[in-house]
Symmetry: C2
Subunit: 544 residues, 2 copies
Amino acid sequence: MLGLMQAVPLTVDRIFDHAATWHGSREVVSRDADGLVTRATYAGIHADAKRVSNALAAAGIRPGDRVATMGWNSARHLAAWYGTSGMGAVLHTLNPRLFLEQIAYIANHAGDRLLIADPGLADLVGELLALVPSIERVVFFCDGASLPETAYPALAFDDWIAPFPAEHAWGQFDENTACGLCYTSGTTGNPKGVLYSHRSNYIHALMTLQRDALGLSARDTVLLVVPMYHANAWGVVFSAPAVGAKLVLPGQRMDGESIYNLIESEGVTYSAAVPTVWQMLLQYLEESGKRFTTLERVTIGGSACPESIVRKFRDTYGVDVIQGWGMTETSPLGTVSVPNAAVAAMNDAEQMAYKLKQGRLLCGLEMKLVDDAGQRLPHDGKTPGRLMIKGPTIAAGYFGGEGGEVLDEQGFFDTGDVSTIDAQGYMQITDRAKDVIKSGGEWISSIEIENIALGHPAVAQAAVIGVAHPKWDERPVLICQLKPGAAATAADLIAWLDGRISRWWMPDDVLFVDEVPLGPTGKIDKKAIRARLTGYILPFAADN
Amino acid sequence: MLGLMQAVPLTVDRIFDHAATWHGSREVVSRDADGLVTRATYAGIHADAKRVSNALAAAGIRPGDRVATMGWNSARHLAAWYGTSGMGAVLHTLNPRLFLEQIAYIANHAGDRLLIADPGLADLVGELLALVPSIERVVFFCDGASLPETAYPALAFDDWIAPFPAEHAWGQFDENTACGLCYTSGTTGNPKGVLYSHRSNYIHALMTLQRDALGLSARDTVLLVVPMYHANAWGVVFSAPAVGAKLVLPGQRMDGESIYNLIESEGVTYSAAVPTVWQMLLQYLEESGKRFTTLERVTIGGSACPESIVRKFRDTYGVDVIQGWGMTETSPLGTVSVPNAAVAAMNDAEQMAYKLKQGRLLCGLEMKLVDDAGQRLPHDGKTPGRLMIKGPTIAAGYFGGEGGEVLDEQGFFDTGDVSTIDAQGYMQITDRAKDVIKSGGEWISSIEIENIALGHPAVAQAAVIGVAHPKWDERPVLICQLKPGAAATAADLIAWLDGRISRWWMPDDVLFVDEVPLGPTGKIDKKAIRARLTGYILPFAADN
């Protein structure tokens, strides 16, 4: 027997209709590359998004076609986002920080027909056009006066949409219709595309709006530091309009001073960011002696947040730093490290241990730890296992069938992360599966050693790599980048780690580098480090 | 093109699986009619719910069959709830406070095959069995020792489920499968059944978990005063387990002292209740001089909450009273009166005006005001219109086709309420469509006059009824019940209203009664008042 409730599909155009109808005058503030701040409203962007739908239709874009954007966070980007998905086309967010060849591979793989890009990327777009024949048309996120001069035909966004009416019938399709496409950077093999549905994005928005998740409210002013080309910007592109939060879109400039000024001038209460940006902001605060007057809380994700940042923000600046975990394939939010009742009742030191984990699972998802044979492992906070996840916001496969079957027999997706889950349900990533160091049949967590090494006052970046060892299979080596002007020896680092990690986890060597290589998304590029270590032989390996 | 996300259906068994897996040790506290408090956990109730599924299957209950419960809020009731819906049967919550004939009508209409009832209702169940031949089996929410002696065969819940294993394959069906059935009290015609789906209940739970809705967290202890037989207990039966909030189920006793003691002994932080219970609680606090030590906020719904209650709780007891609006057909939450940014920036007096409205629409729903011809009316805070609502949590029709087609051409459901919507998006109920007083072609809000009359220190209850008038069609009459020991004259009441309402809204008469009649759900029974007023003639009607 079926229920007798309304068959209203969960399509994201309804979220933006809601914002325009019930929070129409709420501001969306954009800052461009020159620092110029422009103000729009949800109602105004909604009208522009409708114009985008009409402009796309006039350009021959049909439902299911891929429309690429490549730009920083801005109101125009938001209009393109909803204008594309609202008419049933697929918004494909390209990451401009990838290498040209990667972007070209991705755009070709997606079969993008139209590209809307930041005017500052005009040269990159030109190179791209030569490599991606499917792109028929280029539009730049700007007005006519700012249109860059290019050797190829291009339109200014404002001129492109201006002739069209602000009316277009959105939605009216199955909620499982593809909504957005985002490629993972692909640590092994080629980048793979995650094809979000309207349903998955809508449910993800609702899941993340819980008080124990991002907890946005109509009273929040949200600084969206996470780029819109990173996994739906953690869904904030949907959740902020859903509740009528004011949205502040910082464009390209991510230095501490720019971010700080935007927070203060716009009265930001909440932000979502990766730790590197937050570290730069912290540095600026310490150097300038400035303080926040409105900021309340920040969700940090993308990689683990060092304890020093969490403490500094909380104790010195009164800002609650909340870790989250997710990935492109999980829409992205999977866990959030907010206290449950038992943790909230603990003392500060005990609570901090939980705060530094990646957190508790959102309702709507299932999560399990398994060994290499796929058997479930205990939630004892000690046993590491492959982290598997399931739910309506989790990928079932990749665009074009890349990567083949990615779910196990119970329908769980393999995150490629190795983690523990404790008795309170808190998940902690201990490694990427490919980075875990297998020594004498046991797993050593490279991330845990890195985090402790980062606590040394002289260390700016730390990476731990497994190096082949004749007896133990692999042994850890610590690669350190020191802070400018700081000094430390290998013996200093070993002494620092001593007592803080198990004796058998102790790195067999400490190497110093000028710069730990970072990938295009700001994460440590261990592939590059391994390449550099080719031919390296552990000291005394033969003796061990 | 369809997205490539996991096809995981939104079925409510997943919510309870989540609670058992990730919040398994979180307590569910029940108090029975004798005041005895028992403690269970989500994991324990989950196991019992699985046993219920097996017991139902053994009793020949198949998916789609209706299983009725008739009882107060308790852990056993919760186990019956999830055990029934988890195996695909339909949980039909009967309201024991209705008249026998109404309950019999409803149970017959639903075709209930099995009835699980509170042992205190054994006599009522006996009478019911004589009238409802479809009920094959009776179970009482109790252990074997507490099984009431009855002339008909009955089982104790604990004995009934004990033989069965705590394993049963839940879900595995379409998310649109019927989940629960709840009849509206039916102000006109027969009661009509709202048939919730798993999807509608799941989406409703997510919608209400927003910080700007009920905003429950894992750290909350929730006192569920709203009965589970009232529209999913406002969805808290789903939302509290979803986040791992501790649940306190108060059973039948709703007097101020019982409620207060439970709040204090269990550390309640949040509650959901109708105003009458909260008024009794306030009275107890004032008489006893007691104060709350843990309570933070309360959602009030079912009828408008007088300003005096809102102020007293906030100013004297530090508890935030938040109004909500909804109905059985809306799952039930539709609007919540939490401040948006503009309202939050206002001064206290201005904010209070919004706090007393029924509030802002939840994202996921659409709402409109229309005139009698179905044309949209402005959101100016002044123009009253019929309130229409649409969304995946809103009824599309009634069980068995009762009431026929209930949606307009755009798919909106007619709430039967008359309301205004202001420029900030706040909806305020001004009347039930059938209670609105039409005087000289304009609408007079009976509710607004009642609320103001209730502000008079001597008035305990107030009802405003339209009475036929030869010139103006209808004129308002105020019916008052005074507080014990208090005194006031008709002239006092008229003087109180003078200046607080428009002159042409002024009641033509004030009548005093010992008791304003209340319906079975605690709302003023205007049908009964109108019946009593039969033959009443307005004073001076001929002169006006």
